[in-house]
């Protein structure tokens, strides 16, 4: 029995694009134990939202993630629209969905490049990222921005699409579709690439459900779940699309699911552009004060199900905004899937969920209880402290 070595990875490591900490127990090259910890990039966005009105919140939430920025605003906007009871015009919904799908396209292309890079296949990485630029240009054409599109607003979208733009984008889609199909072929057939991903990072269907895996990660383990179909929003009820699943249960399956989702997304973008309805792009009048109540909105982000919970209290500021980014749901499952693999498989196995640690970051603060000389403050003590503080400073008694 070889000696067990502790291999720390992170918070800084070449394979991690964002800070996170992984601890692996290794015997030789084999991993026998894995733990993970996040909290290096917590930005307190949920708290920031409580101090801003709903429109300002949009711009804060857009910056949760640099890749799925539209996902977070759409999820939030949908929740607020539920509270406001708005009925959106068709064209607005279509344009919103158009950006959704383009975002999925560029996110999956980006992921394919990163995955290729993690296993040293830099040629695929460079070529995929070159052609991802086409999507970025389309997004720039639509919204004027490459990353944070700022196209969502309560009750619709902020920019319309002219007829020339529509034709131009349709023309740009042709080479994109051809090239993505080519990369899909490379990603699923190139022997050295497939040799690295097949049978690695296994996650059974049962275990994936137990660990609440979502999105392409879950679908690659045979969990047939897609919010676009199961709980449709936007223009998805009108669109004709397939939900890609795979029974491979490994990284190869995740590549399969994502590359075919890319192809599917290309087709959906085409559908949307060809059937773009006429009319308004947004509701004319939107109240600044949102009625009291709570709403939950689910959204199929490129990485999986994104959940936003918004509670209004009748003012123009939300009382609570809660974000559950898809990485949060997948991270534990991904850490577990590494056990039994080799050290060489760590980067690709972790990257196979398309992690976005900044989006998902939570933090725990250990409060020293100085008064009682304890290392941690208990919940009861903290509550008592709050009551005392408000009584002393604000004159409020509970």
């Amino acid at each position: 029995m070889p000696e067990t070595i502790h291999l720390p990875i992170g918070p800084q490591h070449p394979f991690l694009k964002e800070p996170a900490k992984f601890d692996f127990d290794i015997q030789g090259e084999e991993i026998v134990g894995a733990r993970m910890n996040i909290g290096y990039n917590h930005r307190g966005i949920e708290k920031l939202c409580e101090d801003r009105n709903y429109f300002q919140c949009l711009f804060i939430l857009e910056r949760i993630c640099g890749i799925c920025s539209h996902s977070h605003t759409t999820a939030f906007v949908q929740a607020v629209e539920k509270l406001l009871g708005l009925e959106l015009p068709k064209r607005g919904l279509y344009l919103r969905t158009l950006v959704c799908e383009l975002e999925r396209l560029h996110s999956h292309l980006l992921w394919l490049g990163v995955a290729a890079h993690e296993v040293g296949f830099d040629t695929l990485f460079k070529l995929v990222w070159r052609d991802r630029e086409i999507v970025m240009e389309i997004l720039e054409e639509i919204s004027g921005n490459r990353v944070n599109y700022a196209i969502n607003t309560m009750g619709g979208v902020r920019r319309d699409l002219t007829e020339e733009q529509r034709k131009k984008i349709l023309a740009m889609l042709e080479p994109l579709l051809a090239r993505t199909e080519y990369y899909a072929g490379i990603g699923t057939n190139e022997p050295s690439f497939v040799g690295r991903i097949k049978g690695v990072g296994r996650m059974s269907k049962e275990r994936a459900i137990e660990k609440c895996a979502v999105g392409p990660f879950g679908r690659a383990s045979g969990v047939d779940m897609d919010i676009r179909r199961d709980d449709p929003y936007g223009a998805y009820p009108d669109l004709d699309f397939k939900v890609i699943t795979s029974d491979e249960c490994d990284i190869y399956g995740r590549v399969l699911v994502r590359v075919f989702e890319i192809v599917e997304s290309c087709k959906m973008v085409k559908q949307i552009l060809e059937n773009l309805p006429e009319g308004e792009i947004a509701v004319k009048k939107v109240m600044r004060r949102v009625p009291a109540g709570a709403a939950v909105s689910r959204y199929e982000a490129p990485r999986g199900e994104d959940v936003h919970y918004v509670r209004g209290n009748g003012t123009e500021k939300p009382e609570r905004v809660k974000v559950r980014a898809p990485t949060m749901a997948n991270l534990e499952a991904a850490t577990e899937s590494v056990v039994g693999a080799f050290v060489a498989d760590i980067p690709i196995a972790i990257a196979s969920i398309d992690p976005c640690f900044s989006c998902t970051d939570r933090t725990t603060v250990a409060l020293n209880d100085r008064k009682r000389g304890r290392r941690l403050t208990t919940w009861a003590d903290l509550r008592q402290h709050g009551i005392d503080w408000y009584r002393k400073n604000r004159g409020i008694s509970f």
Partner: protein
């Protein structure tokens, strides 16, 4: 006078200065080819089309801060880069790049070169071992594991032409395809060994798909994780020279070599093909032909290495061991048998 000549050999022409310069040229070729295959431009600004970029990189590294980890064995840590550089540089001296016989050539120098080319791997292993960091240790063990995978097929592949030529001297193996008119067809006979040699050379150089010991995304820099500044610069130069020596060795034993005959050499027995494609001609013309052959043939080998690098993903350590013992080693044995068959028939 003679000792001055030897000093010049060692320091200037086939020696240090030439090897450093030419190997950085080969690195430039490699980077440029690799970049073009990825639809990038590669080095652009230092020198003509970025030709001086590799040198600039090394100079920059030399000027960087040199950090030695507190837990590391200081002396061994500093000695390893020098040892590996000295080994590849000495190996390079035995290559017949100018005269038909390099100044220190002898019967059996092929064995010495192969032996010297093994030292960088061991010094890399020790460098990782003495750095005392998890990534270095992982990288170091991977270096050794990989060595056991590729070394035997590499030896078998390189020794095949030696058996064919009936000599252990690199220059004799190099000139063998040209010596008697009509013998150039021994080059295609060794095709399998050539492919094996290219693959194992790639593994020796630790480049994709065999860059397992220093896989950036897995073990940061492998054995070199803790190296910085001058020591890292020396390792980089060593890697460049290793690529040059490896490519030139393959070109010598498989592609007919390169080099001008010394005055009074047995020029007559070399056919026209040999004079042109081997560059075995006296005087200035011979020198030019020899240099052209050197550049073209090593660049060709490097081109193949870069193509391989661009076309593959990195494989795993267990995969390379399986690959080389299941495919490379048996195929080199098959090649050996083919060569022995030719020998037995008396065809060559």
């Amino acid at each position: 006078m003679n000792s001055l000549k030897v000093a010049l050999y060692i320091l200037v022409f086939p020696g240090f200065l030439f090897q450093s310069g030419f190997s950085t040229f080969l690195e430039w070729v490699d980077r440029k080819v690799y970049a073009r295959m990825q639809n990038r431009r590669g080095p652009m600004y230092t020198g003509w089309a970025g030709m001086l970029q590799p040198i600039a990189d090394i100079v920059k590294l030399l000027s960087k801060e040199d950090i030695v980890p507190a837990a590391a064995d200081r002396r061994a840590f500093a000695f390893m880069p020098i040892l590996s550089l000295a080994a590849v540089f000495t190996a390079g001296l035995y290559l017949p790049v100018w005269h038909l016989r390099s100044f220190n050539s002898f019967e059996g120098d092929l064995i010495v070169v192969l032996y010297l080319l093994t030292i960088p791997s061991f010094s890399l292993f020790l460098a990782g071992w003495f750095s005392v960091s998890p990534y270095s240790l992982l990288g170091a063990t991977r270096v050794l594991t990989q060595l056991f995978a590729y070394e035997v097929p590499f030896f078998l592949a390189i020794l095949t032409p030696a058996v064919l030529a009936g000599s252990w001297q690199i220059s004799k193996i190099a000139i063998f395809p040209w010596t008697v008119a009509g013998h150039w067809w021994v080059i295609p006979i060794e095709a399998i060994a050539f492919v094996v040699a290219i693959l194992t050379l790639q593994a020796k150089l630790e480049r994709v798909p065999f860059d397992i010991p220093e896989a950036e995304t897995e073990v940061v820099g492998g054995p070199l994780t803790e190296y910085s500044g001058k020591k890292l610069a020396i390792f980089r130069l060593q890697k460049d020279i290793l690529m040059y020596v490896g490519a030139a060795l393959v070109a010598c034993v498989f592609l007919g070599g390169f080099g001008a005959l010394p005055q009074g050499g047995d020029q007559a027995s070399i056919g026209v093909l040999g004079l042109i494609f081997g560059g075995y001609l006296g005087g200035v013309t011979g020198l030019l032909l020899g240099v052209t052959n050197l550049v073209v043939k090593t660049a060709l080998v490097v081109f193949l290495l870069s193509t391989l690098r661009a076309a593959c993903a990195r494989i795993r350590i267990d995969q390379i061991v399986r690959f080389s013992w299941r495919y490379l080693a048996p195929w080199s044995v098959v090649q050996f048998l083919i060569v022995l068959l030719f020998k037995a028939k008396g065809a060559v």
